[in-house]
């Protein structure tokens, strides 16, 4: 038991474990978190069981502050509503988002660029490969105070690009106005500005955004180098600000993830 708070060593955890733990650590206690299907659900549930006991999770389907005892597999899953405070609908969830009540959101994407623009619509632009479309990704990314992207990176260099081929969800800078000049989000959103992308968490590192809205490497996962992170990006990643290694999962976090949150091994295969 005294071992619980200790951090595991390389080989004792899988890449997915570290991804989930790093994501969970972004939540502060008491925050209202907007999550999507998959890894984000693990992350918020883990956060609630560790450092953020009073954090609340809401889903765009309308499930508000559920306390699932079984891992949901979609945001409309009946499991999301178990012991929820409210089970209503999209107008409620998106109203809370638009009115600035969402502190943190977890999202994914097929492509991300250095300004945190996200693509989930077409790979290679509108003449390319059709994906699922935006869903709530664009609303949540544009209106949450902080959003955290969770994405695979190892050998996925084509997903980390200078400029996404389709902006499903606007990041810190994007083309705007009749001349489609690259403009900072604050300028475009004016009084409706609520925040923007805060971090990108991958299987190689944790990335954040500087004052100019550009992505930089914040911590590198054990077993990788900053240089390797840069090599797995299609753009010239800023690695000058890296502050060290991402803490590995604690034994308690691993125990929670595998035996409490996802014992059925739905996500944590």
């Amino acid at each position: 038991m005294e071992n619980k708070k200790k951090h595991s060593k390389i080989g004792e955890y899988k890449p997915m474990d570290l991804l989930a733990c790093a994501a969970a650590r972004e939540v502060k206690d008491g925050e209202v978190v907007f999550a999507g299907t998959g890894l984000p659900m693990l992350a918020i549930m883990l956060a609630q069981k560790t450092q953020a006991h009073t954090a609340v999770c809401i889903y765009e389907s309308g499930s508000i502050d559920g306390r699932p005892i079984d891992l949901p597999t979609s945001v409309a899953d009946a499991r999301c509503s178990y012991q929820a405070a409210v089970a209503d609908g999209l107008m409620d969830a998106f109203g809370q988002l638009q009115s600035g009540r969402i502190d943190l959101a977890y999202l994914g994407g097929a492509e991300v660029d250095k300004y945190g623009n996200v693509n989930t619509t077409f790979m290679g632009g509108t003449n390319g490969k059709r994906l699922t479309g935006s869903g709530g990704n664009t609303d949540i990314h544009s209106l949450a105070k902080r959003s955290v992207l969770i994405m695979p990176q190892i050998n996925q260099k084509r997903r980390f690009v200078e400029k996404v081929s389709y902006i499903t969800s606007p990041g810190w800078k994007f083309p705007h106005g009749p001349n489609r000049e690259w403009t900072h989000k604050k300028e475009v959103y004016g009084s409706a500005f609520r925040g923007g992308p805060a971090a990108v968490i991958t299987d190689m590192g944790v990335y954040r955004f500087d004052e100019n809205g550009e992505m930089y490497l914040d911590t590198v996962h054990p077993g990788f180098t900053a240089e390797e992170c840069r090599e797995n990006c299609s753009f010239d990643l800023n690695i000058s600000r890296v502050k060290g290694e991402t803490p590995t999962p604690t034994y308690e976090e691993l125990e929670l993830l595998h035996n409490v949150i996802d014992p059925e091994k739905i996500i944590m295969k």
Binding site: D77, R79, D88, D139, S169, P170, F174, A192
Partner: protein
């Protein structure tokens, strides 16, 4: 306005005309009116214009069957049971379907505006996204914003410098589909509708639509539902046709009743990677059965019972998921 008629699924679907604009209740792979989707395909509806808050297994199936001319929504896929709507994707890539992409709030507000009887609703979501890029106004580029199509408005959206705070905001135009088809747990004999669990955007979709078909697991006495009016979603005068059809949302899930049939959807998704694959699947599961009753018999009671929800939880406690 006459009270709703209780009819067969076939009769209800016969009211829908080629070229009509349709929307549906439910969310992704939950509470979709799948029996109606099968019947629309069986009746070979053509040139449908779908405007949906989001898509799922149901709209991808309609796309695969060649029923859809225009698709307007924000998403299509099968959640964990299939990464994306492969029929829809193929038809979009082949330019066989005209599409208009929206953010989720946009799609929602189109129907919410329609439901409230106003021509638009304002939103801050999501300035800077490519769905708002004029280059991606596909209906406009196809010349369909000239008033010739009663379902297609003059502008995809308007950016408005609103005078109260002097900030830009988007005005999203209302949509008023000809039909909304919604699957629910219970409807009263006079049409009062109760949804158990999440309501998603059903209220907006139904109220925006000119005509409504409600398909329910069970028709129950009005008096029973009216004992607790705070739990009901809709009065009967919004409803044109009522159909009673247990398991009618299969293979999607129904809160408190049954889970999505994951393997069934996954098998469907795998078949849709080619048109031939989908056609074969449809031959077996849609055209190969006379009606939804025969479809259920083909699935078999053993398969269905495994999906049944535990009433204490609202979902199955025995289903193998991992």
């Amino acid at each position: 306005m006459a009270r709703p008629q209780i009819v067969s699924l076939k009769e209800a679907i016969q009211q829908i005309k080629d070229g009509d604009m349709l929307t549906f209740g439910g969310f992704t792979v939950w509470r979709r009116p799948m029996a109606a989707i099968y019947e629309l395909i069986r009746q070979k509806k053509r040139n449908l214009h779908l405007v949906e808050v989001n898509g799922g297994t149901h709209d991808d199936m309609l796309a695969g069957a060649g029923c859809v001319a225009v698709w307007e929504s924000c998403w299509s896929g099968h959640e964990l049971y299939g990464k994306y709507g492969a029929n829809l994707a193929r038809k979009i890539e082949n330019k066989e379907i005209l599409y208009e992409d929206w953010a989720h709030i946009h799609a929602l507000y189109r129907l919410a505006a329609g439901a409230k009887g106003v021509p638009f609703l304002p939103t801050y979501s999501a300035m800077g996204c490519d769905m708002l890029n004029p280059a991606n106004d596909n209906l406009g580029k196809a010349g369909l914003r000239d008033g010739s199509n009663r379902h297609i408005g003059k502008y995809k959206y308007i950016t408005y410098k609103e005078p109260f705070t002097n900030s830009d905001i988007l005005l999203i135009p209302a949509a008023n589909p000809d039909w909304c088809i919604t699957h629910v747990q219970m409807v009263g004999e006079e049409g009062t509708v109760r949804v158990d669990g999440l309501r998603f955007s059903d209220e907006e979709a139904i109220k925006a639509s000119k005509h409504n078909i409600i398909i329910a697991e069970q028709i129950v006495p009005e008096e029973y539902l009216r004992r607790e009016p705070t739990r009901n979603m809709l009065p009967g005068y919004f409803v044109d046709y009522i159909v009673e059809l247990p398991w009618g949302a299969h293979p999607t899930g129904l809160y408190g009743a049954y889970e999505p049939d994951g393997p069934f959807i996954n098998n469907f998704f795998n078949s849709t990677r080619t048109q031939e694959g989908f056609d074969q699947w449809a031959e077996e599961w849609i055209f190969g059965v006379e009606d939804f009753e025969e479809y259920l018999s083909k699935l078999g009671i053993t398969r269905l019972e495994k999906l049944r929800a535990n009433p204490a939880l609202g979902y199955s406690s025995t289903l193998k998921r991992g």
